[in-house]
């Protein structure tokens, strides 16, 4: 298998001016990339994952020649097409047709190549009737489709894709995936950066995980993604410590001292997997019929669901002491978004409330290819998702 990309000891140092409290400025060096080395074979779909600020964008910018490395080098075999930001240079006053040629030219296409692909680009974008309308009249979706269509029809050996699939509707997502797959079949190498682990696992054969500018691990997609999701918990703070109740008086009889949300394996919560909510309780006075209510909502405050041990007629009678409570939500059908967890402790359905923590903590749920179809169910679907079966049968008659 021939090599498509070889990165050797790649480093990028940004010099940043920092203003000191005394008014003087000093220059500090920030390593955006540190001795990054990897090799991508021809025809491979290679994923790059990592948190924001891990150096993914810098790496892509170097590969697409927008910025130069401070040290090291990358050897690229073949022509590179970069989709870092689709629609670059498109001019609102110009028509769809003119913008296809403009955008194609900026992406390094020859005029006759664009002309040859023109009909396919228009068809792919689905803007045929508006092709001679200035794109300022286009909807955001149309502009995006047009831009991606141009980029998707570049004749390149290496394609760099960043988060394009995060936008657009399901139909468009599916089209994009098809284009990427077709490209791979034809031997095109793809570098794919995304926060969508579903898309990464689905499309990539190998993945490299960047953290603070350095490679943590490079390997098979599933293994690296799993490890990444497991490791992501510690750094994103999905655990909350509650201060002990202060002030005068005896304080509540039951106190939440700690709350945390994880996936089944202790890593980040993943769409469709079990979700574990771990609580630590401090019971100060004997309590009979304790009920704990956990409510999930979206970041915007739309309720998703509410869970209470009272619903199961499983109230607790507790002696003073410290307790660990684990609540497992089986195959939690959450969508990839940030959720809020609210906590309440009370007896007798709220007749006496001990503690009430609206928005006790927030936690993200990672997306996954839950349907196994390559179509991601994203947060625009609602507050939850349901697995469905489709039975279609032809009826008798005409």
């Amino acid at each position: 298998m021939r090599t498509a990309i070889r990165a050797e000891d790649l480093s990028k140092v940004y010099k940043i001016r920092v203003r000191q409290p005394d008014g003087s400025t000093t220059r500090i060096e920030k390593h955006a990339l540190r001795d990054v080395a990897f090799e991508v074979s021809e025809g491979e779909v290679f994923g790059i994952i990592g948190r924001n600020g891990a150096g993914k964008s810098t790496l892509l910018k170097i590969l697409s020649r927008i910025t130069v490395p401070t040290r090291g080098r990358v050897t690229v075999y073949g022509r590179v097409a970069s989709l870092l930001e689709v629609g670059t240079g498109m001019h609102p006053e110009m028509t769809g047709r003119e913008n296809i040629f403009l955008n194609g030219a900026l992406l390094g296409m020859a005029k006759r190549d664009i002309a040859r692909q023109f009909a396919r680009i228009v068809e792919f974008a689905g803007v045929a009737e508006y092709i001679d309308t200035p794109i300022k009249r286009y909807s955001t979706g149309m502009k995006l489709r047009l831009a991606f269509a141009v980029a998707a029809h570049l004749s390149a050996d290496v394609m760099i894709v960043d988060e394009v699939l995060a936008v657009g509707d399901a139909e468009f997502q599916a089209k994009c995936l098809t284009v990427m797959r077709d490209g791979t079949k034809a031997g095109r190498t793809t570098l794919f950066v995304s926060h969508n682990m579903a898309a990464i696992e689905n499309l990539c054969s190998r993945v490299t995980w960047l953290d603070q500018g350095a490679i943590v691990r490079t390997g098979k997609a599933e293994a690296v993604v799993r490890e990444y999701l497991g490791g992501a918990i510690s750094s994103t703070g999905r655990i909350r410590e509650f201060a002990p109740p202060s002030g005068d008086g005896p304080g509540p009889a039951v106190h939440f001292s700690r709350a945390g949300v994880t996936g089944a394996d202790g890593g980040a919560p993943v769409q469709g997997d079990d979700l574990l909510i771990r609580l630590e309780l401090e019971v100060r006075n004997q309590v009979r019929g304790l009920q704990i209510q956990l409510a999930l909502s979206t970041l915007e405050g739309n309720p998703v669901c509410s869970i209470c041990n009272g619903d199961y007629r499983a109230e607790w009678d507790l002696q003073p002491g410290h307790y660990n409570l684990t609540v497992r939500l089986s195959s939690a059908r959450l969508l990839p978004r940030t959720h809020k967890l609210s906590l309440r402790s009370f007896v007798n359905w709220g007749a006496e409330v001990f503690e009430d923590w609206p928005d006790a903590l927030t936690f993200p749920v990672m997306g996954r290819d839950v349907l196994g179809s390559g179509i991601s169910l994203l947060a625009d679907r609602g507050v939850t998702w349901m697995p469905a079966r489709f039975d279609l049968s032809q009826t008798a008659g005409q």
Binding site: R65, T67, M94, L106, G108, D157
Partner: protein, 279 residues
């Protein structure tokens, strides 16, 4: 679309901290379509929303010449070897080209930050694309000059072909200055504010609106310090056939222009790689 990809020979490209001259030149050629498209975009953007559109490229030099003729011939009574309108137009062709390219080219790299931080193409093309509109308007001014010369029955000198290297020199000088200033402007935006003022000063201290020989001898070195003087005088002498004309100044200006072009482009190229990170 994929089948022909596989058959192609893969070019090998090494991305490192420094780029070689060979790669730079090759990219200028490979991305030529980007230059054309950027230029077209610039032209369209400039005139599309104006109802008179490209007519503005005609109106501007006509008004300029009318005004200068009124002031310098009518009021100041400057004596020129040919009708004043021809005299002024012959200088405005190169001078406007220079002035417009520098004015449009200086902020071009900063204005293109939305593009240069997203895709790769030779960055010099941001400056060169800004020269498209000045070249178009220069062509129109040249056409007006020709029409005016025919009207007044002025026959060009035998040296008329020298006008071509003079215009070429003007273009190189302007691109060199614009590239240099574009790099400086990315750090210090003062440049783009000071520029219109500097250009006005330049026009009045150069022999554009008056012949060099009416300038007091003491002040003459001032006019000769800027290479645009020699180019303007040279172009005018070549086109309207002022005899005798000493060409030494013009050839020297041409040589200086080529040097400034090379220096300006080199400064720009050295600076742009770092500037992309700070835009």
């Amino acid at each position: 679309m994929m089948a022909d990809d596989a058959a192609r020979v893969r070019p090998v490209h090494v991305i490192g901290p420094r780029e070689t001259l060979g790669v730079w030149l090759k990219d200028l050629w490979l991305y030529r379509n980007a230059l054309l498209s950027l230029s077209a975009r610039d032209l369209r953007g400039k005139y599309k929303q104006a109802s008179l559109g490209f007519a503005w490229a005609l109106i501007q030099p006509l008004v300029q010449v009318a005004l200068f003729t009124l002031v310098f011939r009518g009021v100041a009574q400057v004596r020129t070897p040919v009708p004043y309108a021809v005299f002024a137009l012959a200088a405005l062709v190169p001078f406007n080209l220079f002035q417009q390219i520098v004015t449009a080219g200086t902020p071009s790299f900063v204005s293109a930050q939305g593009i240069v931080t997203k895709v790769y193409f030779p960055r010099l093309y941001t400056v060169l694309a800004a020269a498209a509109a000045p070249l178009l308007s220069g062509g129109i001014t040249l056409a007006i000059l020709v029409v005016t010369m025919v009207w007044f029955g002025i026959v060009p000198s035998a040296m008329v072909f020298v006008a071509i290297p003079m215009l070429l020199g003007t273009f190189l000088l302007a691109v060199g200055v614009a590239s240099f200033l574009a790099a400086v402007n990315a750090r210090f935006r003062d440049i783009q504010h000071a520029l219109p003022l500097i250009m006005t000063v330049f026009m009045y201290v150069s022999p554009v609106l008056y012949p060099l020989d009416i300038m007091p001898p003491r002040l003459r070195p001032l006019a000769l310090l800027n290479p645009i003087s020699g180019l303007v005088e040279g172009f005018r002498a070549a086109v309207i056939g002022i005899q005798p004309y000493s060409w030494n100044l013009s050839w020297a200006s041409l040589a200086v222009s080529v040097v400034i072009f090379i220096v300006g482009v080199c400064v720009f190229e050295r600076a742009q790689a770092r500037l992309v990170d700070v835009l």
